[in-house]
């Protein structure tokens, strides 16, 4: 599971979103939008090597992305130019809005950090053995100033020197985003900044989590949702099972449910209800299935299959994801509503875009900002009853879907679990060798509670979800 550290990138993201949301709530956003970067600069204490001009530029680009705009299209727009366009942008009518890209690189923020090279660190002791020099097939290592030095023109990056060094003094320089991306979708543009190859990207959000400069961002629906509420849209907020413990030890799920209604949503419903529907449908399907079935809950996993394991495309479960199943049910009961999905996930934005069944998608981070902007404190709300079975709530952790399906089936199932895209290749190699009944796939290691949009350390929330769902 990812090592969760609350860091300055998260803090900055939340502060900027909060400023936007608060100003929008007050009705002053169109007046102050061009002044916001300067105000935010005063609040944040930067310790990066960037100049204040660069920081201001980065904040400007962030503001546009948080307004739901497409970075590539609007890169050259100044904030004052948006003043009279805000209505169009927030109602998603503007051509400046982000549509089919769910993670974007803020080039101004990208450090263009080194990658792919091997580097000799200070740990080199200029030992007697010089194994690094001897093992190098390209004779790229020389000893200069009592330290090994790699000639980058000769080095082919085989890594044998790093393995040979007894002091582990030679390291491979890697970009955090590249390392985190298990589908190799991150390359470089002409200025060496990170560039996402959308043909390969599965929108899992791993780069968004890993970039220490916060240069990977996801266009937000937060302000669009606030606009919708203001315009009187009937929005039903549905929240993912991963919401367990996201708002701290004092807030129960029932209180969040109530708080969502206080925000101004028409209704709030647990996606665990949708999860039960999906588990039931998948179990029914598995009763008579003779071929392997893969789960369809995780949109990044489905996208991974579509892009990398084409043989398995026909095996994707015919059941929709819990989000889509619930949204369809709600819309069939009430056709003038819009549905907002609140979860830990960026890939859900892609799913919503592809199947057009969900109108808005927000992360828990964004929901937290919305609570603050609206002045609503979930811990002071009344506790509402919670729907959905225990195993439905278990969908939030890796292994939860398998557990829920097994509970509904009498026959034995041979199952395989892909816990994170890191295991993708290995899992599908196994699946090609042997026949499994059910393959459960989660793009984030640990499941949804370790998704890119969570607030709380997955270690904490994971054990709480497992307690609720009786998963060991």
């Amino acid at each position: 599971m990812r090592v969760f550290v609350f860091n300055e990138v998260m803090k900055m993201r939340r502060q900027i979103m909060l400023e936007l949301a608060k100003n929008y709530e007050k009705g002053t956003l169109d007046q102050v939008i061009d002044k916001l970067p300067k105000e935010i600069m005063n609040d944040l204490q930067f310790t990066t090597s960037n100049s204040i001009y660069q920081e201001k530029e980065i904040i400007k680009q962030r503001i546009k992305i948080y307004l739901g705009m497409d970075y590539d299209i609007t890169r050259d727009y100044e904030l004052y130019e948006l003043k009279d366009k805000l209505d169009d942008i927030l109602s998603a009518k503007s051509e400046l809005c982000a549509t089919d890209k769910f993670v974007q690189t803020i080039k101004e923020g990208c450090d263009s950090c080194p990658s792919g090279r091997y580097y000799v660190t200070d740990l080199c002791r200029n030992c007697v053995a010089h194994s690094c020099q001897n093992v190098c097939p390209k004779k790229a290592i020389t000893i200069e100033n009592s330290r090994a030095k790699i000639n980058p023109d000769l080095c082919v990056g085989c890594g044998m020197c790093a393995q040979a060094c007894s002091y582990f003094s030679i390291v491979k320089l890697e970009r955090p985003c590249e390392r985190a991306c298990y589908v190799n979708a991150i390359g470089k543009d002409e200025k060496k900044a990170a560039q996402i190859d959308y043909e390969k990207c599965v929108s899992c959000g791993a780069c968004f989590v890993s970039c220490p400069f916060g240069a990977m961002e996801t266009p937000s629906h937060l302000l669009r949702v606030m606009y919708g509420i203001k315009k009187g849209e009937k929005i039903v907020a549905i929240f993912a099972p991963a919401i367990v413990s996201q708002f701290g030890p004092k807030v129960s799920i029932g209180q969040i449910k109530q708080a969502l209604k206080k925000i101004g949503f028409h209704d709030s419903v647990e996606v665990a209800v949708g999860a039960d529907m999906v588990a039931h449908e998948e179990a029914e399907f598995l009763k008579n299935a003779c071929d392997t079935v893969t789960t369809s809950c995780c949109p990044a996993f489905v996208e991974y299959i579509k892009k990398n394991q084409k043989d398995f495309v026909p095996k994707i479960s015919p059941a929709p994801s819990p989000m889509t199943a619930l949204s369809q049910k709600l819309k069939s009961e009430n056709d003038d509503i819009k549905v907002l999905f609140i979860g830990p996930c960026i890939a859900k934005k892609m799913e919503a875009f592809l199947n057009k069944k969900i109108d808005y998608v927000m992360t828990f981070e964004e929901l937290g900002t919305l609570f603050v902007a609206k002045g609503i404190e979930p811990s002071s709300m009344e506790n509402e009853d919670i729907q959905g079975s225990e195993s439905g709530w278990g969908f939030a952790v890796s292994g939860g879907v398998t557990n829920a399906v097994k509970l509904r089936l009498e026959k034995e199932l041979k199952t395989l679990k892909m816990d994170g895209l890191v295991q993708a290749k290995e899992t599908f190699n196994l699946a090609k060798k042997e026949k499994y009944d059910l393959i459960e796939g989660m793009a984030c290691e640990g499941g949804c509670i370790a998704g890119p949009g969570v607030i709380v350390n997955p270690k904490v929330s994971s054990s709480n979800v497992k307690k609720i769902a009786n998963i060991k």
Partner: protein
């Protein structure tokens, strides 16, 4: 000594969970001397103090980080000896 950590939404978003984690990991001889309580909004953050905020006995501390809280508690505990 009473340590109250605000777990209201604003402080929560600005990292109060990590502060609780840090306090829970304090060595036993220090942990025994403090009582940790969760508080909802102290109502001092709106415009004046920066979240996350904690209150040790009667004093508020703003913009705290896990490291700062650890230092603060350790120094307070050793002072009171």
């Amino acid at each position: 000594m009473e340590v109250k950590v605000c777990v209201g939404t604003t402080c929560h978003l600005m990292g109060s969970a990590t502060i609780i984690e840090e306090i829970n990991q304090l060595p036993k001889e220090i942990a025994d001397k403090i009582t940790l309580k969760y508080a909802t909004c102290f109502e001092v953050c709106h415009g004046q103090m920066k979240p996350p905020i904690i209150k040790i006995d009667d004093t508020y501390y703003e913009n705290v980080t896990p490291e700062k809280v650890k230092q603060l508690i350790i120094s307070k505990v050793s002072e009171s000896k």
